[in-house]
């Protein structure tokens, strides 16, 4: 059955104009085929003798089916089992009718009117999951009562859903309210961390001479608004190292560790009057020191005026805490779930060190790593801390 057009799939044989034994020539009309458009004459492209007509009149066959066989001159007919071309698929009319609905319908109890699915914005749903907030217990304040980001944030801060519906009007909470809510939320997160996360701890003394003298020289050329704090160098070093050691940058989910795509470093910021937040500085490895300094300044200011953005709260992929200003030598932190690592820095101070076999007084800082043993092992943790150390020996690398 020749293809007679791009929209032709099949044809019905209307008429044979030749019979077995007839001689045919190239270009001769040998049959008439009915298509969806009209009856069309079929040309033969070969010369020879008709051997067998394989498709009877009235049969519909697919394009490409053999209609007849020809013998070239001198060729002899071969007796072979006659293969009928596959008839075209049955038309829709022959399809079995749909089963009567009563057959199955009787067994099914009429469905109860389902409650409307709770409206939760996609962003709020994701945030609730990462903050471990029970969405069903929230009342929404979004359009048509949808639960939105701010509802989840409030709930995460208070962490006491369900029992008391949120009756508070949209008045600004007092600092005391905030303090109480934050205390509860820290309590919940840290308890969960210590309950669920098998922490391991490593520490490393890092000599800061190179970094600090480099930074002092850099700052000396700048006005006060452009100077960079040593904390920014530490932040950048952690960010770069976390990029290289992916198993410390990401989240522990139900199914196991899920590495994060970017490195968003949560910065522990203590609040005046107590409490702690650790909002993210996004894409730390990609930012220049000046950008990081601007981000940090901005973040601290906003953290202390309670105007953080939700994404900053939910985005950190690893956390850095710096208690050096308070004079402690080292901090062994608690991981903020679902993150899997936290790097702590103590006070940079002059300490006696053995360097190259000699005793010297140099400025050092103690860096610590608290890491989730489900996601990584101490060996990798040690390499991760070493990487931070090495980066801080070459402050040029941190500039970019």
């Amino acid at each position: 059955m020749p293809a007679l057009g791009s929209d032709m799939d099949e044809g019905t044989l209307d008429e044979w104009l030749v019979k077995p034994g007839d001689q045919v020539t190239r270009g001769q009309i040998v049959a008439v085929v009915e298509t969806t458009k009209a009856a069309v004459e079929i040309e033969c492209w070969q010369e020879g003798t008709v051997s067998e007509l394989l498709v009877p009149i009235g049969e519909t066959v697919q394009v490409g089916a053999v209609l007849a066989t020809l013998l070239a001159s001198g060729e002899r007919a071969e007796r072979r089992p006659r293969r009928k071309p596959r008839p075209s698929k049955p038309r829709a009319a022959t399809k079995p009718a749909a089963a009567p609905s009563s057959a199955r319908g009787a067994a099914v109890t009429p469905p109860t009117v389902p409650q409307r699915r709770r409206w939760v914005s996609p962003a709020a749903r994701r945030l609730a999951q990462s903050l471990d907030v029970d969405i069903d217990a929230l009342s929404g304040t979004g359009p048509q009562g949808a639960v939105i980001i701010s509802d989840v944030e409030h709930a995460a801060a208070s962490k006491e859903p369900a029992t008391k519906p949120m009756t508070k009007p949209m008045t600004k909470p007092t600092p005391a309210d905030r303090g109480a809510q934050m205390r509860k939320s820290i309590a919940a997160a840290m308890s969960r961390s210590k309950r669920e996360i098998p922490h391991y701890y490593l520490a490393d003394n890092i000599v800061l001479e190179n970094s600090l003298s480099w930074l002092t020289a850099r700052n000396a050329q700048r006005s006060i608004t452009e100077r960079v704090l040593p904390a920014v160098l530490l932040l950048k070093a952690v960010g770069l190292a976390a990029q290289r050691f992916g198993e410390f940058n990401g989240f522990w989910r139900e199914d196991g560790f899920v590495p994060a795509t970017g490195v968003h470093v949560g910065v522990g910021i203590s609040l005046r009057g107590g409490g702690l937040v650790a909002p993210a500085i996004h894409d730390v490895p990609d930012k220049k020191l000046d950008e990081l300094m601007d981000d940090l300044t901005d973040l601290v200011a906003r953290a202390r005026s309670f105007s953080l953005r939700s994404s900053e709260m939910s985005d950190p992929t690893i956390t850095v805490t710096n208690l050096g200003d308070k004079g402690v030598d080292a901090v062994f932190g608690i991981i903020y779930p679902p993150q899997v690592a936290l790097v702590g820095f103590g006070q940079p101070a002059q300490r006696v060190c053995v360097i190259d076999g000699g005793i010297r007084v140099v400025t050092t800082v103690q860096a610590t790593l608290a890491a989730d043993h489900r996601a990584s092992d101490g060996h990798r943790g040690a390499l991760f801390l070493n990487a931070i150390n090495e980066l801080l020996q070459q402050p040029d690398l941190l500039e970019k």
Partner: protein, 325 residues
């Protein structure tokens, strides 16, 4: 110095004619008349009838001729007076200009620029008030831009002419008389959307004649404590996904403003892309402010009612903030 959109368009064409002898301007009444919107006033005298060609009223013909001339070494700027007349030339734009490169297996590029006025707002009634930009933005093989500012009215022509593929420029009729303080006009780009106002609470996405309405709405909303980011699409094809998604991911809410009719509009396309690319960042459904689905009527109050307006944008934005309002 105050510069109008009209002057910016005019100066862009004049500078293009000066800078490149391959550039010709053709269209209905671009020469002696000086252009329907006076965008080519004086250019016939300066560059002569070979380079500033008045054409007969034959949109299909002269757009096709522009395409042929572009294929053979010229850089034509073809002015089709208004988008409604461009329907007469749609065959040449879609079947030839947009398809030629592909169906020739990459052998022929068509470096033509087609300009036309678009949009409603001047009581010109049903046949002279269309915003058919979404139709053009649907077609692979052409680029579509909509300068909404005086800077872009000047700045987009040079990169459009430098582009080896067909570029269609839509100038909204309401913009020709707008003006801005500008020292010097320079080429811009035809690749990215622009954030015209930074904000944190909601992204308003607009283009062409609706940009100023979106910015007005943002000003008004700021008094209500809603901090709007306003994105000017600038390029309608190919759309700048990154800028749109980055902004919506930040603000978690989006309102798309489009003077075209809602069904099958660019607003529909952008909404779909936000859903595909930023669904989990959304804190509310995407809202649209488009023209009502009616041929644009003549009577002023009805025309105003049919089109996107600042007050409608404000209402759409507020609708995305439940109890807070």
């Amino acid at each position: 110095m105050k510069t109008t959109y009209r002057t910016a368009v005019h100066d862009a064409i004049r500078d293009a004619l000066r800078d490149d002898p391959r550039v010709v301007l053709m269209g209905e009444d671009v020469g002696r008349y000086g252009g329907t919107y006076a965008a080519s006033k004086g250019l016939l005298a300066e560059f002569g009838p070979e380079r500033v060609r008045d054409t007969p009223l034959s949109e299909l013909g002269f757009v096709g001729i522009g395409i042929g001339a572009a294929l053979n070494g010229l850089r034509p700027i073809v002015e089709v007076m208004t988008v409604n007349f461009s329907l007469l030339a749609l065959d040449q734009i879609v079947n030839t200009a947009a398809a030629l490169r592909h169906m020739s297996g990459g052998q022929f590029s068509v470096p033509i620029v087609i300009r036309m006025a678009t949009g409603a707002g001047r009581q010109l009634a049903a046949q002279h008030s269309h915003s058919l930009e979404p139709w053009y933005a649907h077609i692979p093989g052409i680029k579509v831009v909509a300068p909404a500012t005086v800077e872009d009215a000047y700045g987009m022509l040079a990169p459009a002419l430098a582009d080896p593929d067909p570029v269609v420029i839509f100038e909204h009729v309401q913009l020709y008389n707008t003006s801005t303080d500008i020292d010097a006009l320079t080429p811009t780009d035809i690749s990215r959307a622009a954030v015209r106002r930074n904000g944190t609470d909601v992204t308003i996405i607009a283009y062409g004649g609706c940009l100023s309405k979106a910015l007005d709405a943002a000003d008004e909303l700021s008094l209500a404590g809603i901090d709007c980011e306003v994105v000017d699409l600038r390029v309608l094809r190919p759309l700048d996904n990154d800028t749109i998604l980055e902004s919506v991911s930040k603000t978690h809410r989006a309102v798309v403003v489009d003077e075209a009719w809602r069904s099958g509009s660019l607003a529909a396309e952008i909404t779909a892309r936000v859903m595909e690319g930023a669904f989990y960042d959304l804190d509310a459904p995407v809202a649209r402010v488009c023209s009502n689905e009616v041929p644009i009527p003549y009577a002023k109050h009805l025309e105003e009612a049919a089109l996107p307006q600042t007050v409608k944008i404000v209402a759409a934005v507020k609708g995305l903030f439940g109890d807070r309002q």
